[in-house]
Symmetry: C2
Subunit: 511 residues, 2 copies
Amino acid sequence: MPANPSFLILHPRLNLYLKPFFLSLPHFSSPSLTFNSIRRFPIPKPPFPINRRNLSSLSSAATTQSTDDNGGGRGRPGALSAPPTTDDVRRIDVNPPRGTRDFPPEEMRLRNWLFRNFREVSLLFGFEEVDFPVLESEALFIRKAGEEIRDQLYCFEDRGNRRVALRPELTPSLARLVIQKGKSLSLPLKWFAIGQCWRYERMTRGRRREHYQWNMDIIGVPDVTAEAELISSIVTFFKRIGITASDVGFKVSSRKVLQEVLRCYSIPENLFSKVCIIIDKIEKIPMDEIKKELKSAGVSEKAVEELLQVLSIKSLTKLEEILGSAGEAVADLKLLFSLAEKFGYSEWIEFDASIVRGLAYYTGIVFEGFDREGKLRAICGGGRYDQLLSTFGGDDLPACGFGFGDAVIIELLKDKGLLPEVNLEVENIVSALDVDLQGAAARVASILREKGQSVDLVLESKPLKWVFKRAARINAERLILVGSSEWQRGMVSVKILSSGEQYEVKLDELE
Amino acid sequence: MPANPSFLILHPRLNLYLKPFFLSLPHFSSPSLTFNSIRRFPIPKPPFPINRRNLSSLSSAATTQSTDDNGGGRGRPGALSAPPTTDDVRRIDVNPPRGTRDFPPEEMRLRNWLFRNFREVSLLFGFEEVDFPVLESEALFIRKAGEEIRDQLYCFEDRGNRRVALRPELTPSLARLVIQKGKSLSLPLKWFAIGQCWRYERMTRGRRREHYQWNMDIIGVPDVTAEAELISSIVTFFKRIGITASDVGFKVSSRKVLQEVLRCYSIPENLFSKVCIIIDKIEKIPMDEIKKELKSAGVSEKAVEELLQVLSIKSLTKLEEILGSAGEAVADLKLLFSLAEKFGYSEWIEFDASIVRGLAYYTGIVFEGFDREGKLRAICGGGRYDQLLSTFGGDDLPACGFGFGDAVIIELLKDKGLLPEVNLEVENIVSALDVDLQGAAARVASILREKGQSVDLVLESKPLKWVFKRAARINAERLILVGSSEWQRGMVSVKILSSGEQYEVKLDELE
């Protein structure tokens, strides 16, 4: 039904298109340091001999808990499942829930590297970090009429029968907090957040159900300088991680272009949101499909053809010829391109009338980052949303922001061979040469740590060969060995692992 | 029913006792920088005049969505609620869901400060960071027979009718990942994580439903050096943030003490877990209550009296007199105290036989951090859990770890006047003196940022008085003004805000 008169409807800024990523980095694995090697060392006996069969008497409840993947509904949603009765020791599914990720150390290092860059760029631009609950009231998201987000909302009923949802995006929470804080806030706000977002959809094509999103938002600035500043921060981020203007670009337009075009072609204003949503799919589904959808939305065949022609414009000059220079759309865009030159990122941005973003809350400039090879989905997206707060019952404030996911950028870095090597690096490894010197080694480790040196302390009595392998695995700079004769003289033996240089040093001269 | 034969049952390491914290830090608020001031600046007109009444036609669905706090169950848990039909613009609840927190900038700075200290200490000890999904299969947690954790599990049914839960603790996920990675892991693992944990309980006494927990775990080391290393890392953390041994201490015992005591008094081994759980409450509920519970668990009156006497022992020497020196309990504890001396934290730890922790997976040394004034709940807690992996169907590995929440420590820091001042600090504020110089100011900001200087760029044309107030709010070191006459000479005006010193500098000499 073409009944949606506005774009007060909220969408996530960024599609959660989530191919599996953080794929295996080079991972050093030493055969002598595996699970099995632990068997060589005594494992303390459990306080009681555990007879697993005895565990059947664990609980008097009668329900058997099933763990199969398609397990049907079991009673009230928030209610607790009954404990298992017959077999407490079951092989659990060792994988994280479908569509979610673990972050073992090598993936966590990459995530930390990415987030550190998000954070450092945000701070360089004078932004303050904020965060919100990953669980929000469903009402914060379902007031949106945008289709995909509603269908994919990861919502449920809690044990108190309240409708809640794992957030699909951060902006509604930000808007909620801005309304809550009200007049105590000093405008403009320049806020950033890095948060996990969720969606629930059938698991196809390797999409995931969660991703992390970097957001930067400016609240309280009506001028296009705000959008220009946001794009500048993303460009700064790209440059920092080795991405150039020949790798990626920004397509920029304004929702006001579409508004003026629709007026020119006498398309009823209440079709706006629906038309926006269809147009956003232009590069994702065949043109015939777009036309069919526009027609079934109520746009006449002639208007469709003419609309699509205007949307194909990639030149601001040509747009100005058609729309005239009086409207806000052309003025805003010209100002943005002029500011881009001053900020120094002209070569990164281009006008593209087809860009509207699928996110219904935008009211002005919209932009998206894309890879120039055209292999990936949008890397990031954002725009101005001056009327979001009033949809929540607050007073509107001029606002703009962007969302930048952690998935596509990693794909791109991988494609370009730009994924960084982020290795574990511990400055020192300290090992006793004798089990009686374990305490002495602990003393040495403590002295070094007090001086700010990171130390991997070997906690068991291990052969020297093992210690060297461990040292290599953690990329230690120094190996510090605590041996009996040196220790009696208050000395330890230091080996610089890069050069092989070896010397003794007094404990109190250890730095 | 006294039917629980082991402590294979899992509990969270740390009670989620969560008074409201991150209470208001000093917050600078300038009246001229509030919401209202924005009204002086033009807000772009919306593309369409929005008639809110029109929004009633938004959707053809018939159900009205209720947002009241006690709203009853609505259909299938995972199913989507119908969109609102009659009133799209409602005042939403501007507070985060009950028991959850927003992190506006001032709270986020404190959280970042705390997490940075967690992280830096972990790295100093050579630990690697990991993370797991906040949402896990419910089965990972409900196999535990521990009472509180089960009752308070934040569990629900997802849209695919799978039983899932927001994790109450991190350890089961860690165990799952260790089993999954299997032999590819190089032992020992030294892993840390900082993650949000959830529980669902009736909201009383200011408890929250989420908190963040710092975990450090050592997998693959059977020796007590591992526990000693963990306590050393917590002590290092305390020292770092200004907490001394006169503020906090660690109470240490071993589950093996209780085991040996129970054997001495011929208490059946299958009462062990139940007895552990009751004993853990010793400082939380009246002694009469403890006795009653022990009796109703099946411990004879005489045994209860004698058990409580042994549990009141605070001296390792006395414990050795009673248990003898042959058992593992005394040997482990003596080794731990000897290592504590070498690590340099003897004055921080004391033996206390009553410490068993309420967490059923511990098998050996257990410890908890407490405030010496006795005003707060445990600050952190941990111990050895050598048999966790087999409860999930994996091969056991020696393991120990601790959990350290973000709530009690902040309470303690507040009590001691040790909460740090963590202010927003942006090095430069750059402002144009003329609206036409907005682009020039952008150029200046870009130059500084390329040199690694953080810049708050004033994005609108603002009076100088406003700019100075903003500069004070963000604690800027320098104010850089872009004026017409200087700009024509390729210069900008720089003011050092601490000294008032002012000078002109060439654009390309700006550092």
